[in-house]
Amino acid sequence: MSSIIDVEHLNYRYPQQAADELTLRDISFTVAPGEWVAIVGHNGSGKSTLAKNLNGLLAPAAGTITVDGQVLSEETVWDIRTKIGMVFQNPDNQFVGATVADDVAFSLENQGIPRDEMLKRVAAALKQVDMQDFATREPARLSGGQKQRVALAGMIAAQPQILILDEATSMLDPRGRQEVLATIRQMKAASALTVLSITHDIDEAASANRVLVINDGELKEEGTPAEIFQHGEELIKMGLDMPYAERLKAALKRQGMQVPATYLTEKGMADWLWQLRSNK
């Protein structure tokens, strides 16, 4: 299958870095159309730098990035940006509109979408993130979690082929986070959207088809969520929370109990405990 994102031997260095220092070193990976890939790593590992390279906000020192068949360059960057929607961790950095509705409409106006269509899409997008009552409010006066919802609504309305979420659910309460993840699943089901999510959240990583682990600017590992989650307590060093079943496993071990070595989902853990109880 052809890929929608193809990154080959990407190096990135910030202007203030010395010639032998790199923030990203020889990163190569591909993403298939419609895939959901989670990128994990601790703070400062280079995850956000990678995201900014993908849509040309930062220019690599070496390597190529191909998005939907186009090699990223000064000529193609504007084309590529219409295909990629980004939601940042702190949406204050991306609001432009005087009201929530204006802000959601901004990218549609830029794309020259007819007004009738635009109004419909804005209303539908706000409804999807449960912010329809806030259409005439000022984005600056919203809470952190509400701002993240509005930023996501902007992307829902713009209907990009690729959605990049840079810790886009970090300010939401657990229920809000579940709702946003459900919204993204709906968007994917409706339009074969490709999703790249940079995250520390175990539930968000578990939603992905594949997880990439970045450490100190290098791609250390990739695998399915279950493969990555087997690392147990090591996950904290990778910048991920431990899945709850692994935390409980560690606590049971501290109580002197014998526990299975393989990764268990929460359901798997509940079943295993029930088995123990039944065999007692």
Binding site: H42, N43, G44, Q89, N90, R141, L142, S143, G144, G145, Q146, R149, E167, S170, M171, L172, D173, P174, R175, G176, H200, L235, I236, K237, G239, L240, D241, M242, Y244, R247, L248, A250, A251, L252, R254, Q255, G256, M257, E266, M269, A270, L273, W274, L276, R277, K280
Partner: protein, 299 residues
């Protein structure tokens, strides 16, 4: 230092077409020395309440008593300086408030603003930097060359430099990775004891409420809908769901086990507590005969 709200209402832009009612009939006390968690879903009024804690906002009606000071709708904006010193607020993403050329100047800015000499303020800054776990070698660096987590610590040091009695934290770990989050939460617990602080924590992380707080205020639609200890608050999962709030991971998992047929006298708050409960049911002879509040948080 205790803070007490009496019949507090607050409306943004009152008397205009944009008037929005944010707080309604708030009656609540944050006791001296407590570690109070303020929880509620997005938009429930937590941040508005928080800004009343040092009179950044004044009630539209009602009173807020902060230590000895009583803030009413007509309190003058002059002469609030001492309050701002006594109640330090660490806002969301506090690193965005850094502005000075060097770390030492940034931390010293607050005390100097309150009339402390430059020399004394710089000495305080050096002490505060150590308190937040950063190396003295960073003092002369530009705060903008530091990592996000270090910048946040510098911003917190700037608040601590005012030597507040109450430390208010608005989602202080947002955006940090799990390791950074853990270190930051342990730092606040340590500072609370070392500096004898009253701590107010606004958070969505129910695990942090279970692990660190001793008092919880739950808000919904601008009202305080419940107060109590974490154990009291998390004892009623259905009520929490109705108010769009989650449970600590352990409590949620124990609830699932309960539905499968396990029996627990009370819902556990931490994984160690649950592990003890499970062990006592699976191998009763090996487990302690009872476990009360005191053993619940043992690490």
């Amino acid at each position: 230092m205790a803070i007490t709200f009496k019949q507090v209402d607050f409306t943004y832009q009152p008397g205009t077409p944009f008037a929005t009612n944010a707080l309604t009939d708030i009656n609540v006390t944050i006791p001296t020395g407590s570690y109070t968690a303020l929880i509620g879903h997005t938009g429930s009024g937590k941040s508005t309440l928080l800004q009343h804690l040092n009179a950044l906002l004044k009630p539209t009606s009602g009173t807020v008593t902060i230590g000895e000071r009583v803030i009413t709708p007509t309190t003058s904006n002059k002469d609030l300086k001492s309050l701002r010193q006594q109640v330090g607020i660490v806002f969301q993403f506090p690193e965005s408030q850094l502005f000075e050329e060097t770390v030492v100047k940034d931390i010293a800015f607050g005390p100097q603003n309150f009339g402390v000499s430059e020399e004394d303020a710089h000495q305080t800054a050096a002490k505060m930097l150590a308190l937040v776990g950063l190396d003295q070698s960073l003092l002369e660096r530009s705060p903008f060359d530091l990592s996000g987590g270090q910048m946040r610590r510098v911003a917190i040091a700037g608040v601590l430099a005012m030597q507040p009695k109450v430390l208010v934290l608005d989602e202080p770990t947002a955006g940090l990775d799990p390791q950074g989050r853990l270190e930051m939460m342990q730092m606040f617990a340590r500072l609370r004891h070392e500096q004898e602080l009253t701590v107010v924590l606004v958070t969505h992380q129910m695990d942090d409420v279970a692990d660190y707080a001793d008092n919880v205020i739950v808000m919904d639609q601008g009202r305080v809908v419940k107060t109590g200890t974490p154990r009291e608050i998390f004892a009623d999962p259905q009520w929490l769901t109705e108010h769009q709030l989650g449970l600590p991971k352990t409590t949620a998992f124990a609830q699932t086990l309960r539905e499968q047929g396990w029996q627990f006298d009370q819902l556990p708050l931490t994984e160690d507590e649950l592990a003890q409960m499970l062990k006592s049911q699976l191998a009763p002879s090996l487990a302690p005969s009872h476990f009360g509040e005191g053993t619940a948080h043992d690490e």
